[in-house]
């Protein structure tokens, strides 16, 4: 699936954006699902805004976002749900787990939303690798941010996808855990032949990026 941005400018950031140069805003861009893209930007320049625009969580922008040739703004709710179940996965900066479900249930929900591609035991394997096995039975609301972030990563990886969108996915993790998590993510993306788009504050060497852009 090709994701294209055509002259996209978020309306609230319009004034700021026209005054500076950006690799993304107000440009013609096309991403293929084999690309591993890093978007680097300081705080407040619209990283989360970009992620939300790509995931159709907000529509206060000018220009157009296209999934393949289809304009995202006119995609039906049903089609969008299908895309989110099978084609595009996401790790939110604010994690967005259900606090009243256990960590395992949060992951399981995403696994069974679509016809599962992974068996349930894959949850245990991934949890083992990210060292969160011990909290799987715990309510997500009671987990630390670091734990929640790893649960959110596993949740994003348990579903089928062609694109993985990550919004500062390692913000609550130490270097050792970042290494484990990025290894798992890289593995899962390669397995699916999927691309990803990662936003972060600084340059890093977590992945073998095919493209790096400044927002």
């Amino acid at each position: 699936m090709q994701v294209s941005l055509s002259q996209v400018i978020p309306i609230p950031l319009k004034d700021k954006i026209v005054q500076r140069n950006s690799d993304v805003w107000n440009k013609e861009l096309s991403f293929n699902s084999t690309e591993w893209i890093k978007i680097k930007a300081p705080s407040g320049t619209g990283k989360t805004t970009l992620v939300h625009i790509l995931y159709k969580l907000r529509e206060d922008y000018s220009g157009a976002v296209l999934y393949d040739q289809e304009q995202l703004s006119v995609i039906s709710a049903e089609k969008l749900a299908q895309l989110r179940q099978a084609n595009i996965s996401i790790i939110f900066q604010d994690l967005r787990l259900f606090p009243n479900l256990t960590a395992r249930e949060n992951i399981e929900l995403k696994r069974v939303l679509h016809k599962p591609v992974y068996e349930e035991k894959v949850i245990d394997e991934m949890a083992e690798r990210l060292q969160v096995s011990h909290i799987l039975k715990q309510r997500a609301g009671l987990c630390s941010y670091g734990e929640q972030q790893r649960i959110a990563i596993i949740r994003a990886l348990i579903q089928p996808f062609e694109w993985l969108v990550m919004d500062e996915p390692f913000s609550h993790l130490d270097q050792a855990n970042i290494a484990k998590a990025s290894a798992l993510i890289a593995e899962e993306c390669s397995k699916r032949n999927a691309g990803f788009l990662l936003t972060d504050l600084d340059a890093d060497e977590h992945f073998n990026y095919s493209k790096q852009l400044n927002l």
Binding site: Y55, L57, A77, E78, A81, Q82, L83, R84, Q85, R96, F98, N100, L101, E105, E108, L109, K110, V112, L113, H114, Q159
Partner: protein, 395 residues
């Protein structure tokens, strides 16, 4: 599995007591509505059924009023009868054939001596509430079957027998009593034997089979082709103002006592209509509470539903889940209602059977069809409400 997780997220327990109240209200409403349907079905069965001994179907004897002007001229012409047949409120007209010969009856046994002069009338069998196989005659028959009004028996048992010091008689005793009939025709009286085979509430006359009457009038009649002066009409509603005004316009009178059936009908109508209206109003309120409950549930789970959608739960998945939460209880309610109606019907059947009124012991297909129709309405309301509020929450 997905539904188990959704169940944890979308709590339908908010306002559970209101939901239970709505369900109870719905049950009462459905009992009223379906009872109205069943009552109407029972009434139609009584009105049109042929199995009832004391049918509520309305048969009226109609003749010209005897006044100073009409004395001796009360026969009904063919055009008058044809006009009666044409009226929309008259289902059928049967001509009562009077006997044109003198008849007397006397006891054939010494136990119960009696003698009386009398007359016969006959009416087509379809107008008679007699199912006795003995009710037929041909020229080889041993005896003439006779039907007398129930009223005669009552008059005898409660008036005549007491005043004359005679024993009271049961219908069975009367039926077993042989009667000698003497037809006085020409010079020599002819003797036949007759037997009472039934009692009628419908036609207050001494009735013989049409076949005997035609034969006897031909052989013993003093005047041929006499015009009839009484007809029996079948109508669905003797209380129909059109019928009443038609009769009075044409100088016809009828047995006003029979109009008591129309009172029954009015009562049934009032009960059915009251039940309908009360049921329908309650149904609408139950639906309203129900939709409010769905709205409340969806509104109280708004953050969960928004996040579920963000994660890719499709509107259809949510819709299916919610419908599964709300709709099955409706099926149970309709089922319970049908069981209640069936039990009531069984009870009513027994109650009426003791009073010689026969209705089906089982609920009618119309009632079941109405139940299914109600279920369909509930499904549509559920479905539309859920779709509407899911869409609301997502935009």
């Amino acid at each position: 599995m997905l539904h188990q997780l959704l169940k944890k997220l979308i709590k339908t327990s908010a306002g559970r007591s209101r939901f239970v109240m709505a369900m109870i209200g719905l049950t009462v409403a459905l009992v009223l509505i379906l009872a109205a349907v069943q009552l109407q079905a029972n009434y139609n069965e009584l009105l049109n059924g042929k199995t009832n001994q004391d049918s509520v179907a309305n048969f009226l004897l109609v003749n010209k009023a005897v006044t100073n002007k009409t004395i001796g001229a009360t026969t009904l012409s063919e055009t008058e009868i044809a006009d009666l047949r044409k009226q929309p409120f008259i289902d059928d007209v049967g001509v009562l054939t009077p006997s044109h010969f003198k008849v007397s009856a006397e006891s054939a046994s010494g136990n119960m001596p009696f003698y009386t002069d009398l007359f016969f009338e006959s009416v087509p069998d379809g107008f008679l509430d007699i199912n006795d196989p003995a009710w037929k005659w041909d020229d080889r028959s041993q005896y003439i079957p006779i039907v007398i009004p129930n009223m005669f028996l009552d008059m005898y048992n409660f008036g005549f027998s007491a005043s004359q010091g005679l024993p009271q008689l049961t219908p069975e005793a009367i039926k077993s009593l042989p009667v000698k009939i003497v037809i006085k025709s020409g010079i020599t009286p002819v003797t036949y034997y007759a037997k009472v085979v039934g009692f009628s509430d419908r036609v207050s006359s001494v009735l013989v089979p049409q076949a005997f009457m035609d034969w006897a009038n031909k052989n013993f009649g003093t005047q041929q082709d006499a015009k009839p002066s009484r007809v029996v009409i079948r109508t669905k509603d003797p209380g129909n103002p059109a019928l009443v005004s038609y009769l009075s316009q044409h100088g016809l009178t009828t047995d006003t006592d029979k109009t008591r059936f129309s009172k029954y009908r009015q009562i049934v109508n009032v009960v059915v209509n009251a039940s309908w209206v009360a049921g329908a109003v309650m149904f609408i309120f139950a639906l309203l509470i129900f939709t409010l409950f769905i709205q409340l549930t969806i509104a109280s789970c708004r953050p969960e539903i928004v996040l579920l959608t963000t994660l890719g739960t499709s509107p259809r998945q949510l819709y299916r889940f919610l419908l599964k939460q709300f709709f099955p209880v409706n099926i149970i309610v309709v089922f319970i209602t049908l069981i209640i109606i069936a039990a009531l019907q069984y009870f009513v059947q027994h109650f009426l059977a003791e009073r010689n009124i026969y209705v089906q012991p089982f609920i009618s297909v119309y009632t079941i069809a109405a139940g299914i129709a109600v279920l369909l309405v509930l499904w549509i309301v559920n479905s539309v409400t859920i779709k509407k509020y899911i869409a609301n929450k997502l935009t």
